[in-house]
Amino acid sequence: MTRYEALLSNIEPQEMILNMGPQHPSTHGVLRLELITDGEIVKEVIPHIGYLHRCFEKHAENLTFQQTIPFTDRMDYLASMNNSHAWAMGVERMLGIDKEIPRRVEYIRVLVCELNRIASHLIAVGTYGIDIGAFTPFLWCFRDREHIMGMLEWASGARMLYNYIWVGGLFYDLPVGFEERCREFVDYFKPKMVELNQLLTDNQIFISRTANVGVLPADVAINYGCSGPMLRGSGIKWDLRRADEYSAYPELEFDIPVGKGLMGTVGDCWDRYKVRIDEIEQSVFVIEQCLERLQKELKRTPDFDPRGKLPRKIVPKAQDFYVRAENPKGELGFYFVCDGRTEIPKRVKARGPSFNNLSVISEISRGVLIADLVAIIGSIDIVLGEVDR
């Protein structure tokens, strides 16, 4: 008998099984949670996933590395740039061309990834507010995110699913005037964050709803494979941008914000929220440094070709390789198995951060109220496109 069957067969007479989702708006997509409730108290949470399964791994076994990039965009569709960056980086390392990528290309990659990180965190923060009952921050976050969407659309031609970062280079160079418009955005955006903090971060109602709720101790977080803001919210200073020093990150300065338990306990929902807010600020700082270099020493030249290093045929040597990168949600990993003869990988596994972050939910929501469960789901910041792949 599996644990699931045992839970259902040992149900007490006063307990009720309640299905939350897959169409419940606060489950952020098509997540179904089976709750065993005693009145308002949640006794057990059993997540059921797979409603958005689109066979990413099966597709990747039938397509070449370059052709799979649009599919990676559709995993965490709020941070498509970061997904394709990880994919491209993994293939480049297998080919051994990762050191030959021009500096300008690396800086553009970091720039668009950090813009996308801000956009992803803005959604996380805005929808978190609406889960708790604050409507205005949601509208403000979407208004500011729209500027980022507009800029990335200008660069790549698509609003959300970009297919911009390619193995060995980029789809196109940044359009003329992008850096200036990006600077304008940064100047516009900084005061907006102050407003958002005044409205939501220090809001007493918001703090009462999130502080001391869904406390995730650091050892549990590591044991369940949580990463990204989930792990940092529990007080562990672990960021792959610093741990692995990939792409242009070693040359850039930024801090790694961690949860300190300012409003309650270390690792509660407010800490995870606050880590995202702090990360937005750090990303703005990184963007400024990138712009500085892209406008000075790595300036656009007429003969610069972002597709110059694009390999004509991608056939890595027979090997298997695991690449990991820091996504807005956490550690995104791709595991490739190549046989060295074809352009098509033998096996690809995607390790989505949301998938692992979500698995901890039944551990941290035993005995909470149903309303607090909504706060916990929001603080995990899942994207079902990546949980189900």
Binding site: K58, N223, Y322, E331, R347, S359
Partner: protein, 166 residues
């Protein structure tokens, strides 16, 4: 602690036959571990203060195809305090005539991460994990037939009498 130190450590603790070999061709060297010992070795690697692999980054099931008729499971461990990574592999031949599932010991008591990853490997590849507390399908519906990531999988045409168009 580098790759060879870990190898020596495991051989000292579990005997020389616990490690069947190494793969050092690619960028990431891997240890081929004897399948029956995997749970014990993982516990040791997690708890030993010299290695401290507290984070299971990824667990992958691999079908080696019709030629080999073998399945393997690949474990990607990382250590947050030391910032090191390690790859472990277990591999088993499958007797095709008996039609049985390939089975490995679960590592879910060591890292809870493995619980969902092993369910995924069971769901998509039909790898069975003995001792797993909750081995059900995770991504596909409970009544799905077959395991789609197997190399000999034939695409289903019907699901519960409904034609699948694609």
């Amino acid at each position: 602690m580098n790759f060879n130190d870990v190898k020596v450590l495991i051989e000292e603790r579990f005997g020389p036959d616990a490690i069947l070999g190494t793969e050092e061709t690619g960028l990431q060297p891997a240890l081929l571990v004897q399948p029956d010992r995997i749970a014990g070795i993982c516990t040791e690697l997690r708890d030993n203060p010299a290695t401290y692999f507290d984070f299971l980054a990824c667990l992958t099931g691999v079908d080696h195809g019709a030629d080999e008729r073998a399945f393997s499971v690949v474990y990607h461990l990382s250590s947050i305090p030391y910032n090191t990574q390690l790859v472990l592999k277990v591999k088993k031949q499958v007797n095709e005539t008996s039609g049985e599932m390939p089975f490995f010991d679960t590592v879910s008591p060591v890292w809870k991460t493995a619980e969902w990853h092993e369910r995924e490997a069971f769901d998509l590849l039909g790898i069975y994990f003995t001792g797993h507390p909750d081995l059900r399908r995770i991504l596909l519906p409970d009544d799905w037939e077959g395991h789609p990531l197997r190399k000999d999988y034939e695409t289903a045409e019907y699901y519960n009498g409904i034609k699948i168009d694609f």
